[in-house]
Symmetry: C2
Subunit: 428 residues, 2 copies
């Protein structure tokens, strides 16, 4: 079938304008599409992905070959690969998004005014969403599905190393959309690797409503600096566990071990432990560090940590800010909850931070004073996740404070509209 | 009493850094302030404003004198003036904000997860909010009060023509804050008129969380172009009334007259009327235009309007985009609701748009397809207002789609935080 995505033009400006104009027009027609129609498109997308396994892997093989030739790291090549299992999981994920409740039209609040006007605040699609991402090709179908679920048109800009894979996935997405009678421009892939295109798209106020960058810090910074449209950032997760003066020793060991080692390469893994001086003096610090070291975790501590756990290497200022995504953890001893809060608010990434305590007032103070998207008491940072929260699929975990904070699902891809029904009311 | 606001330094960068650092520190301490403490500050602010009438008017006289010398228009001088009634109204408004419910700590959603973790999504302060505004000095107390109510620290940058008035009001604000034992840096006024300060503050990511510009389009555009921090815009109100094929003639006349003439200088006044061809042919257009013309409203129409109402002047493309804020209205005849929607989505400002119809399907289609913050059926656009909606005081009407849309009150000056209480849960 012919791809309906706009083709790279010699004139990049014209290409980007066309892309944005088509997306805007598609978003207008999506406003009238029912939830059933959008779900039909999603189920047809999932089916097309399953039926196109060979085509997807042929396209993916080209990217893998080029990637090897370009000297991509084994980790990057692994992320790029579309195995049988990953293709099945992409399709399943799209079906699961179809199964979720419809965010569009949800009534957030409503009342009848004294003058008889029936007033409601409803969730409605945002309009056109630009997603900029790096190597994982599954983001193409995940992001397209979540945006379509919430009634938005999407412009997808993936990494150039995954271009063939992304194009093949976009074909499946468009088969699904066409099957449901939705404007094919509801999902468009940017098919030029010219970086200037991103800069142009980021300045299309009035046509593109939102950009969500997914990737490393340098990508996100570049987006923020160029953008005239709103950006919701998904920065790093430098997550903390603070072990309070009064806490259960075994709970401290279990939670710290789980938060660090359950999966090290994820944004909700713990990267720094802060121990109250009492928890250093009474042996909790030592027990926690021993348990971690036993599992192969490298401990980098301040001098007070080293005094209790001699094996610890010396932590530098960079360690407090690091998102290791690896079997390394920074450990510091503090004199109070206030000092812990200062440390976390200064070095943290406002993602997920936990306290381990028996003290109700300490828990309350921690929850109030830590400036974070997810404040946890006596549980592992690993629970900060849309699936764990029961929100369904997530497009990421926002470390921003505006519009969406924390796990960001289909609801967060909507805006609101005040709708008023009267019968002739005029203002006195 | 000594003003606690940072003083202009010779080094502008140092001045802005200090301002932002103090605001950040104040926002951290505000996180622990109770609703009662914040309300006490507000009531003390209101009292200080009432008790400082003479000082406020002395300061205001300096601004008025300088304004006259600088040749400000009578309308601008009027906006600048702090009359007895305006000072009383400023104080009343602060008291009313104290009377409203506390947005901080509101539970938006919550559940107990299968593993026993108690999960809640709560409203919490955003942090530090930068408000940039033009000549009306009452914005100083309104914005300070709404931000304080919602637990945010505020940096206020008013127009240079109102500097003395703003400084005098800021003193009252700070008396109130000090009386409640809150960090005086919770509200700071930028006391330099150097425009470069705005550019610097707009790039203080990590210290300032949000900017809300209040003023003309050129101010807002300048803010958006310079900002690296999120901006919520309050653009113009180019509001439409679409008169459908099947509608009540008297209702059309009443609503159009009210929407245009109840107050012409406000953002929710109607600026364009669109008539379905049937409503032009059956005399509704003529009746509406006659009623408006009788009240001194100048009609600027397309040729089909002029065919029904000869008095109408010729509308140009600029008229469709104009926010007149005056006794002028643009009128166009369209062939369908779809064409009306295209017109509104193209020329409108996404503020408030109304349909007059007896047809349920037309009402539904209008509400769904018009990309607007406030979609009205059979009532005047003048109802789009936080007070009318029962939301309490508003900081403006957002024409953005992210974070806040439509009338923006204290709730919209908060972000959310996921709070989880467990008893040792680790992820399997």
């Amino acid at each position: 079938m012919p791809t309906t995505t706009a083709q790279p033009a010699t004139d990049l400006t014209a290409y980007c304008d066309t892309l944005a104009d088509r997306a805007l027009a598609a978003s207008r027609s999506l406003a009238m599409a029912s939830g059933q129609q959008r779900n039909n498109a999603l189920r047809a997308m999932a089916k097309a992905i399953r039926n196109s396994k060979d085509a997807l892997q042929t396209a993916n093989a080209k990217d893998l070959e080029a990637g090897k030739a370009a000297g991509l790291s084994p980790a990057m090549l692994d992320r790029l690969e579309l195995t049988d299992a990953r293709i099945a999981s992409m399709a399943d994920s799209v079906d699961q998004i179809a199964d979720q409740g419809d965010p569009v039209g949800k009534v957030i609040e409503g009342r009848v005014l004294d003058n008889g006007i029936k007033l409601q605040k409803l969730r409605v699609p945002i309009g056109v969403v630009l997603i900029i991402f790096e190597s994982r090709p599954n983001v193409t179908s995940d992001a397209a599905a979540l945006c379509l679920k919430s009634g938005n048109a999407t412009v997808l800009r993936g990494g150039k190393e995954a271009m063939h894979s992304n194009q093949a996935i976009a074909k499946c997405v468009q088969q699904g959309i066409a099957a449901a009678g939705i404007d094919p421009a509801a999902v468009q892939l940017v098919e030029t690797t010219d970086r200037a295109a991103v800069g142009m798209l980021l300045k299309m106020e009035g046509k593109i409503d939102l950009c969500i960058p997914r990737g490393g810090e340098s990508l996100i910074r570049a987006v923020v600096e160029q953008a005239h449209i709103p950006v919701i950032k998904h920065y790093t997760g430098n997550c903390h566990v603070y072990i309070d003066s009064n806490c259960d020793e075994q709970m401290a060991v279990d939670i710290c071990v789980n938060a660090k080692t359950h999966r090290t390469g994820v944004c909700n893994a713990a990267e720094t432990l802060l121990f109250h001086a009492d928890a250093a003096a009474n042996g909790v610090l030592q027990k926690v560090c021993e348990a971690l070291a036993k599992l192969g975790v490298e401990i980098r501590g301040d001098s007070r940590t080293q005094a209790e756990f001699a094996q610890a290497k010396t932590a530098t200022d960079e360690d407090w800010a690091a998102e290791y995504l690896d079997k390394i953890i920074a450990v510091r001893v503090v004199d109070s909850l206030e000092q812990a809060a200062q440390h976390i608010n200064h070095y943290g990434s406002k993602h997920t931070d936990a306290i381990i305590t028996r003290d109700l007032a300490a828990a309350d103070q921690f929850v109030k004073t830590i400036d974070t998207a997810n404040a946890f008491v006596n549980c592992s940072t690993r629970f900060s996740d849309g699936g764990q929260y029961g929100l369904g699929a997530e497009i990421g975990i926002s470390t921003d404070k505006l519009h969406a904070r924390g796990p960001m699902g289909a609801d967060d891809l909507t805006t609101t509209k005040w709708v008023a029904y009267g019968n002739g009311q005029t203002r006195q």
